[in-house]
């Protein structure tokens, strides 16, 4: 479960044409990134998938059923951690399942908190955590949801370089154990290449899919990959696509 398909999706707000004919898919257990210039409508794609707005044309489907303008089918991790300050770490992680109305699995939740390296912080409040820790809580909150696909909206863009790399490696390791489908938005080419199975390159407004790149690197991936020649060649290719 967790096959997401967008078919020739278009959306405009008044005269502002944001998306044009976007077709992409995420297979079960696949990690797909969307890269594009800032303001290219990446977040609009998420808003359509999340059901906040209706596309002008095209369909969004998950495991074969159409979900245009219907909410609650995806799990989501925002750019800022958006943790609820009055809830403890444990209560924050439980929120996603609470909203979905599914039964809490305390063992699984505690296991997730442990895998985020936050054992002992279960009863801590978010304002006691560092920026990186908050993002880890935010991610395991999205993992704890019953939905089979997670949308991540530039989750690491506010972190410093070192924390970001650490977080990316941690994200990969935990994703490899839980194997949910992931759709990941970023404007960082390194990040997209390091994390994904496939990369969708968007153009400037109105956004169209410029190219779909399959990332050939084997998993598990290590930090050295970032400096290898095949990595840099692909990086240059995407860079040129984004520029012109």
């Amino acid at each position: 479960m967790g096959r997401l398909t967008l078919e020739s999706l278009s959306k405009s707000y008044g005269s502002n044409h944001v998306l044009q004919d976007i077709t992409l898919s995420v297979k079960e257990g696949e990690f797909v990134s969307i890269v594009g210039p800032s303001g290219s409508g990446k977040s609009t794609i998420f808003q359509l998938i999340g059901g906040l707005y209706t596309p002008d044309s095209g369909t969004i489907s998950l495991d074969g059923s159409v979900l245009n303008n219907s909410r609650g089918h995806i799990s989501y991790m925002p750019q800022s951690p958006a943790l609820f300050p009055w809830r403890t770490v444990l209560q924050n992680v439980e929120l996603s399942a609470e909203i979905a109305g599914t039964k809490q699995n305390r063992t699984k939740t505690l296991e997730l908190i442990k895998s985020a390296g936050l054992s002992g912080y279960e009863d801590a409040y978010p304002n006691e955590l560092s920026g990186g820790m908050k993002q880890r809580v935010s991610f395991i909150r999205s993992l704890n949801a019953p939905q089979s696909i997670i949308c991540l909206d530039e989750p690491f863009s506010a972190l410093d370089e070192f924390t970001r790399l650490e977080m990316q490696q941690w994200l990969l390791s935990i994703w490899e154990t839980y194997k949910k489908s992931i759709l990941f938005i970023t404007h960082d080419i390194d990040e997209a290449l390091f994390l994904s199975d496939r990369i969708i390159v968007l153009s400037d407004k109105p956004a169209i899919v410029k190219k779909e790149i399959t990332v050939p690197f084997a998993r598990p991936r290590s930090e050295e990959l970032l400096m290898s020649d095949p990595f840099l060649i692909l990086k240059r290719e995407i860079y040129n696509l984004l520029r012109g």
Partner: protein, 261 residues
């Protein structure tokens, strides 16, 4: 507790200083008792006349506590209704503000005419002065929810009811408690005003009797009693707030410093 003592000595010192100035100035200029009693006389009256006002205190406490509880329930319910039903907000918000422009001193006799001298008109007066700060504070709290958290909840498909109870309601609590504290002090004032109009017990009655017989020292005893009662209510709400909003006192900064774009 230690910090309360550390911070508390400054206002206490100013208070003692004021009392000393009052006492010495009144003695120096030989001001008659019925015009302005000495602080020492007021203190003496508070001790010796103890039996005269104890029963009045209980009556005022019962009245103001009842009015306060009803007032905050009305205040919170009104805030929730106005917030959840936009039509009601448009229709009633201006009326709500107008209701606060009617002087209590004019309204109270009317209420006595309509509802008699019982408990009901007095409770209504207190409710009228108490509910407004609670409603306004709660509405402000509901409206100023964090955009990132709201967006997150919408993206994962939370219903409006879930958004209210899981985000807007807990988010409004700090603001709501400010309203509750204001209302707590208003409730004592409201109780005393309503007692002036016709009651046989209460600090307001004690005060009226004292002032009409020029027992000015007793009027001041009543003032002190009202102050102590207000402070007591304030302290109770403060304690409840501390235990409910425990998350606020732990850790350092509240905001996470990043915003959604």
């Amino acid at each position: 507790m230690k910090s309360a003592v550390n911070k508390g000595w400054r206002p206490l010192l100013v208070l003692i200083l004021l009392l000393v100035i009052w006492e010495s100035a009144a003695r120096l200029f030989n001001i008659p008792d019925w015009l302005l009693p000495l602080p020492s006389q007021i203190a003496a009256e508070a001790f010796t006349g103890y039996s005269l006002y104890t029963s009045h205190i209980m009556s005022t406490v019962t009245l103001s506590a009842t009015g306060y509880l009803v007032g905050i329930i009305v205040g919170i319910v009104v805030a929730i209704l106005l917030f959840r039903i936009p039509f009601l907000q448009q229709a009633f918000y201006p009326l709500l503000i107008l209701s606060q422009n009617i002087p209590v001193i004019v309204l109270a006799p009317l209420l006595v005419i309509w509802f008699g001298f019982g408990m009901l008109p007095k409770v209504i007066v207190i409710v009228l002065v108490c509910f407004f700060p609670v409603t306004i504070a709660a509405l402000d709290g509901f409206r100023q929810t964090d955009r990132d958290m709201l967006y997150y909840l919408k993206m994962i498909g939370a219903s409006n009811r879930q958004i209210f109870w899981k985000l807007q309601w807990p988010h409004s609590l700090p603001s709501l408690f400010s309203g509750l504290k204001i209302a707590a002090t208003y409730s004592v004032m409201g109780a005393v005003i309503s007692e002036w109009l016709g009651a046989n017990k209460g600090i307001g009655v004690y005060m009226t009797l004292a002032s009409s017989s020029f027992k000015t020292d007793r009027v001041f005893v009543a003032i002190v009693l009202i102050m102590i009662l207000s402070l007591l209510y304030f302290a109770i709400i403060l304690a409840v707030e501390k235990s409910v909003l425990r998350w606020r006192s732990q850790g350092g900064n509240e905001s996470d410093g990043s915003t959604h774009s």
